[in-house]
């Protein structure tokens, strides 16, 4: 507990957290604006929207225009960049120690290194949860206002919405853990930051394009493998209803938990063995 307190104090006493929080806020505002525009087009969807599409495609479009999905999208707005930021913060929690050579002091204070990594994982998770909490409060206000403007009701009575919000919290926590694991693997502060941003963006868009190009060539089961790509898994977790052609939301959670556990364990084992010099 002392160690977690120390780790949180480390974060609080430097500028990193509020710089990232500021960036997150700006990106959230942008994303929410886009989601608002998307909402208006989805709600005003006419019959002509599905003209010329295959039955499967039109099924997907209609599922997206389901009010549960529109609302879930608004209440979890900002997730895409928010997750990137909490992951970076998790990585910085570790790479700072090497960048500023504080690893020596840290491991002198606590000779049992597993405890240090454990504390960092917990502190990063708490931080991720804080980012989620602030974003969600903003989303609840703004989302409800947008939905009210379209006379659709806030949808907050729906269980699906709260499940999406809850799984979104899990996503924030898990991505923080992924960040800590990545920070151990890539000790260079700049290297870790650049690599994570690249992999996150390339993973998301690259995989999206890849699976689109493959199409149904290898069958529907292959499309469902999209969930193995971490950013796609976290997106799946926050859909309001099960989308046609996608696995259920909990599969996304399982995939991310698996990634987080693997990264956390590898990170801990590495730190236990490594010489600090």
């Amino acid at each position: 507990m002392n160690l977690v307190r120390s780790e949180l104090l480390k974060i609080r006493t430097t500028a990193t957290w509020w710089v990232l929080a500021l960036i997150t806020f700006v990106l959230w505002a942008l994303t929410t604006l886009i989601n608002w525009l998307q909402t208006s087009s989805l709600i005003n969807l006419g019959a002509e929207a599905t003209e010329g599409l295959t039955p499967e495609q039109s099924e997907q479009v209609l599922a997206q225009s389901d009010i549960a999905n529109i609302a879930a999208n608004l209440y979890t707005s900002g997730q895409f960049f928010g997750l990137l930021m909490v992951m970076l913060l998790g990585a910085i929690v570790v790479t700072n120690e090497f960048f500023h050579q504080t690893a020596t002091t840290t491991f002198l204070t606590t000779a049992r290194r597993t405890e240090v990594i454990g504390a960092k994982l917990i502190a990063a998770t708490i931080l991720g949860a804080a980012f989620w909490l602030v974003t969600t409060v903003l989303n609840l206000v703004v989302g409800a206002l947008i939905l009210a403007a379209y006379d659709t009701g806030s949808q907050l009575g729906s269980g699906a919405i709260w499940r999406a919000i809850g799984l979104n919290a899990l996503a924030y926590a898990l991505w923080s853990i992924l960040g800590v694991g990545a920070g151990v693997l890539i000790r260079s502060q700049i290297g870790a930051t650049i690599t994570l941003v690249m992999v996150y963006l390339a993973g998301y868009f690259g995989a999206g394009i890849f699976f689109l190009a493959i199409g149904d060539r290898w069958g529907e089961w292959f499309q469902e493998l999209q969930v193995l790509v971490p950013p796609l898994a976290s997106q799946l977790m926050i859909t309001g209803t099960e989308l046609p052609g996608s696995p259920p939301q909990w599969v996304g959670a399982v995939v991310l938990v698996a990634y987080a556990v693997v990264m956390g364990v590898i990170g801990t084992l590495l730190v236990r063995r490594r010489d600090i010099s």
């Binding site: 002392n2 500028a15 050579q101 000779a111 010489d275």
Partner: protein, 344 residues
């Protein structure tokens, strides 16, 4: 001064009486097994046994064994690259030894409960987050070590850094950084202090302060181990020295004894006499080596100046000059470690 220090002092005195000035007990049993469980060492005593670190192609530390006693300042000397830092880091569980072990008060560092309350270490001056204030740096450590926040203020006061408490680390001078490092080491009021090249980058005033500070800690009965590549600084500071080169032990013992033994062997006595041949013969008979000096005098090695005087008196030789030329200690030190240092 509390009871703990008093006990430590008593132990040291008893210990010193038993040991006399002989420090050759450093060679404890070797072996890659764990530290011995029997024969508990004195509290605060550092024991290094058979410590070895093999890096890819380089043996940075090679079967090193020595002990460091409480209540004294021990200088850990060696040229740059001799393996001092690696040795200190192995003692502190930061670097894993290839073989051998080190204990502090009979316990390995990793097994210490709340290590900061036993051992304080200053390893590198620039080991704090540049954007964090000095006081917050210490508070972070206090939180992790379960020490009260007030210890951070006390430690800053101790090293005279209170005025700079709320300044960010990046604005500190090298001397201030060293002081902050010492403050961090003192947070847990440890019995043992380990410092790696603390005089590096300090101005003369800072060095003088450091010397007084460390001597004061040793006088309280604490163990103080200071590494340095500067022999001259250690002469003023250390009670004992451990000298290594190329990862191996060269000498260890009280500083006067070690330096004495280093200098007697190399010391020269310059003597001038009108009866040079007669004196040379008498000195050679007494076991000295004699060669002609630059200005008609004699250079005598192998015996000290009083012996030369006595031999001259017995041989009834008139002396005009008798000078014991103490060799430059740095020179002797370099000679001792020569060929073993350098880039490896």
């Amino acid at each position: 001064m509390n009871l703990r220090h008093l006990t430590a002092k008593l132990t040291i005195e008893t210990f010193a009486t038993q040991m006399g000035n002989d420090m050759s007990v450093g060679q404890v049993q070797h072996g890659s097994g764990g530290p011995p469980t029997a024969a508990a060492p004195a509290p605060g005593e550092i024991v290094v046994s058979g410590l070895t670190k093999q890096y890819r192609g380089v043996r940075a530390v090679d079967d090193l064994s020595f002990t460091v006693r409480p209540g004294r300042v021990t200088g850990f000397l060696g040229p740059n690259g001799a393996g001092k830092t690696t040795t200190l880091r192995m003692m502190l569980n930061l670097v894993a030894p290839t073989s051998g072990w080190a204990t502090i008060g009979g316990t390995r560092y990793v097994d210490l409960d709340q290590p900061l309350r036993h051992v304080g270490a200053v390893l590198e001056a620039s080991s704090a987050h540049k954007g964090r204030t000095g006081i917050n740096h210490l508070r972070v450590i206090c939180a992790a070590a379960g020490l009260p926040k007030s210890r951070a203020d006390e430690a800053l006061e101790l090293v005279g850094l209170t005025p700079a408490a709320k300044r960010k680390f990046k604005g500190y001078s090298l001397g201030m950084k060293q002081r902050l490092g010492i403050a961090a080491a003192m947070l847990g009021d440890p019995r043992v202090l380990i410092l790696d090249e603390p005089a590096n980058g300090l101005d003369p005033e800072g060095i003088r302060w450091m010397r007084g500070f460390l001597k004061g800690l040793a006088a309280q009965g604490r163990t103080v181990l200071v590494s340095s590549h500067l022999l001259s600084e250690m002469q003023l500071l250390a009670d004992d020295v451990v000298i290594i080169a190329a990862g191996r032990l060269i000498r260890q013992g009280p500083v006067d004894t070690v330096l004495g033994s280093m200098t007697t062997a190399a010391a020269e006595v310059k003597v001038r006499t009108p009866q040079a041949e007669q004196l040379a013969a008498a000195l050679q008979a007494a076991g000295a080596a004699v060669r002609p000096g630059p200005d008609g005098g004699l250079l005598v090695t192998g015996v000290d100046a009083p012996t030369v005087g006595r031999v001259a008196l017995q041989a009834q030789v008139e002396l005009h000059e008798l000078v014991a030329e103490r060799p430059d200690l740095e020179g002797v030190f370099l000679e001792l470690t020569a060929g073993k240092a350098g880039i490896r």
